[in-house]
């Protein structure tokens, strides 16, 4: 990969992280505050606490795994263009 392509890829990955952050904020708000209006209790625990805390955590893991597999790419961190010039 040329440096230019790497930098373009890095921009794309950074954008994906920001998008992931926004999606997570929305999920978090719905899974916690949203669900709390339902007033459901599961195993002596309010449902919003389960979905808002453990749910958000699991959702973030799934999202991060997806992002790393689908958006992120492997490349050499040394500048290959420079290596060729030498």
């Amino acid at each position: 990969m040329k440096l230019k392509e790497k930098y373009w890829q890095i921009k794309k990955e950074a954008g994906a992280c920001v998008a992931a952050l926004l999606v997570l904020i929305v999920f978090w708000a719905i899974a916690g505050f949203g669900v709390s209006h339902l007033n459901i209790t599961v195993c002596h625990t309010p449902l919003w606490a389960i979905t808002g805390c453990i749910g958000t955590w699991i959702f973030s893991i799934i999202m991060v795994v997806w992002m790393v597999k689908k958006v992120f790419k492997d490349f050499d961190l040394e500048d290959e263009d420079e290596k060729h010039e030498r």
């Binding site: 230019k4 002596h44 309010p46 453990i54 893991i61 790393v68 961190l77």
Partner: protein, 495 residues
């Protein structure tokens, strides 16, 4: 002194193990030394794998307050506090995902060993570099004192030994092993600390569930006695504005913390980075949910009002540990919080040292074209780590009030100072020296002043003001000042 030796022993053994690991790593690294001491001492020769990168980032980030102050609040606030703390799952993927690769490539190109090397080069400014060094050393020192004090207080409360004994047992050792082991030592001991935190957390969870008569009994009791703990707003104790503040303070803007960003220049390859993002997100979530959940469950054994427990939530976790575990098990459990404190101290100490030695002292020497031998560099770096560590240690024995003030400003102050300087430096070509200096100085001063005077906008934490002011300074300054030269920009951006 009415200490229980069984309470002391586990921490002591753990600390000795940390010291042994550091010495071993140092000897192993010396054998296959590439001859570049600074690169080895401050970045571990850019060789971190995914697991260690994840764990050291999480461990540095999780401090003694994640184990004591935080769960203490959870005891008082309830599930809302866990719900708030879970926003920290964003910390790892944001810093490593946004800055990780760019910082790694750039630091290899310009041979950077510290984050300040990168800042100095990107903005071509010695003033900015010196300002960064001052902010880092000042805020890191205050944070380290707070970590020492937090760890030693917990030690005193749980084992019965005096505060100073606790400080000596873990404080002196962490200073020595950081000085000896350098970054490689810090990273590996951090990883072990993170594991110790998880183990301590698990033991405590089981202990508290047993002491409280099981999950069902504890929850029923909370439902009757403190039903507001089951609501997200906790009967008004956990307002929306606090959630928004925490999203910014411990979530989004942690990207700017120099102690996290420095990890971007230490890992081996992109595979390691990718693994670290996944592992780190799993671990930081587990730790935050787990510890704060334990805090809520402590309601099962600490059933009175806060006034009965010395009117401070900081007393909750030590009491919960003492009342639910036998002395030996309690002694093993407090390795967790002690590990959280030392893993933060070791990283901050090394970064602070690198600022003093590499970014100020050696840079000035080089500018005057005075050569410093490899041997002298090595001696100076270790000596500086040791001396700075010892100064912090002695301050911690009886910290003056001013340290607490600085510590209060440290976390948000570091975020304000560095967030835009890093982010826009890496992704906005127009960002220049004038903008960066204004952003760092202006943002930090405004943040500290508004904190001092208690000025808030819409009841949201002052980090909002600091970050916005810093951004405005950066943008205006960048349009007012001169652009960075093309050759330098060529390293950060491709046309």
């Amino acid at each position: 002194m009415n200490g229980n030796i069984w309470g002391l022993l586990p921490v002591f053994i753990f600390m000795m193990a940390m010291l042994a690991v550091s010495i071993y790593l140092r000897n192993a690294a010396a054998k296959k030394s590439s001859g570049n001491f600074l690169n080895e001492y401050f970045t571990g020769s850019r060789s971190l794998g995914g697991f260690v990168l994840a764990m050291t980032t999480v461990a540095t980030y999780s401090s003694v307050s994640s184990f004591v102050g935080g769960p203490g609040q959870a005891w008082d606030i309830g599930f809302g506090w866990i719900y708030m703390s879970v926003v920290q799952v964003t910390a790892l993927f944001l810093v490593l995902g946004i800055l990780g690769k760019k910082m790694a490539i750039v630091s290899r190109k310009i041979d950077a060993v510290t984050v300040i090397d990168v800042i100095r080069h990107r903005y071509q400014s010695d003033l900015l570099a010196n300002l960064s060094a001052i902010i880092i050393v000042l805020f890191f020192s205050a944070t380290m004192v707070a970590q020492f004090v937090g760890g030693a207080k917990l030690f005193e409360a749980v084992t019965g030994y005096s505060y100073v004994v606790g400080l000596v047992v873990f404080g002196l050792v962490v200073v020595i092993y950081t000085a000896v082991g350098g970054f490689r030592g810090v990273a590996v001991t951090d990883a072990l600390c993170a594991i110790a935190m998880l183990v301590g957390m698990f033991i405590l969870l089981v202990g508290i569930l047993q002491a409280g008569g099981g999950y069902e009994a504890i929850m029923e009791q909370i439902t009757v006695r403190r039903p507001e703990l089951l609501e997200p707003l906790s009967g008004g104790n956990m307002p929306y504005t606090l959630y928004i503040s925490q999203w910014m303070l411990v979530g989004i803007f942690t990207v700017g913390l120099p102690q996290s960003v420095v990890r971007c220049i230490t890992y081996k390859d992109t595979k390691s980075l990718h693994r670290a993002i996944i592992i780190g997100t799993v671990v930081i979530g587990a730790m935050n949910i787990g510890m704060n959940f334990i805090g809520v469950l402590s309601q099962g054994i600490l059933t009175e009002d806060l006034a009965a427990y010395g009117n401070s939530v900081d007393n909750i976790m030590p009491l919960a540990i003492v009342r639910s575990l036998s002395p030996l098990v309690a002694g093993i459990t407090i390795i967790g919080p002690i590990a959280a404190s030392i893993s933060t101290i070791s990283s901050l100490l090394l970064t602070a040292t690198s600022s003093i030695i590499k970014d100020v002292y050696m840079y000035e020497k080089e500018k005057r074209q005075q050569k410093i031998s490899e041997k002298k560099t090595s001696m100076l770096s270790q000596l500086c780590t040791l001396v700075l560590g010892l100064i912090i240690f002695f301050i911690s024995i009886n910290p003056p009030d001013v340290i607490w003030k600085i510590n209060m400003f440290a976390f948000g102050g570091l975020e304000t100072a560095f967030f835009w300087v890093f982010i826009l430096g890496m992704f906005w070509k127009k960002a220049n020296k004038t903008g960066a200096i204004w952003a760092m100085a202006g943002g930090t001063v405004v943040y500290c002043l508004t904190m001092l005077m208690g000025i808030k906008i819409m009841e949201i934490h002052q980090i909002l003001i600091g970050i916005v002011v810093s951004l405005l300074c950066m943008i205006i300054g960048s349009y007012v000042g001169k652009d960075v030269d093309k050759e330098t920009l060529g390293i950060y951006f491709c046309e």
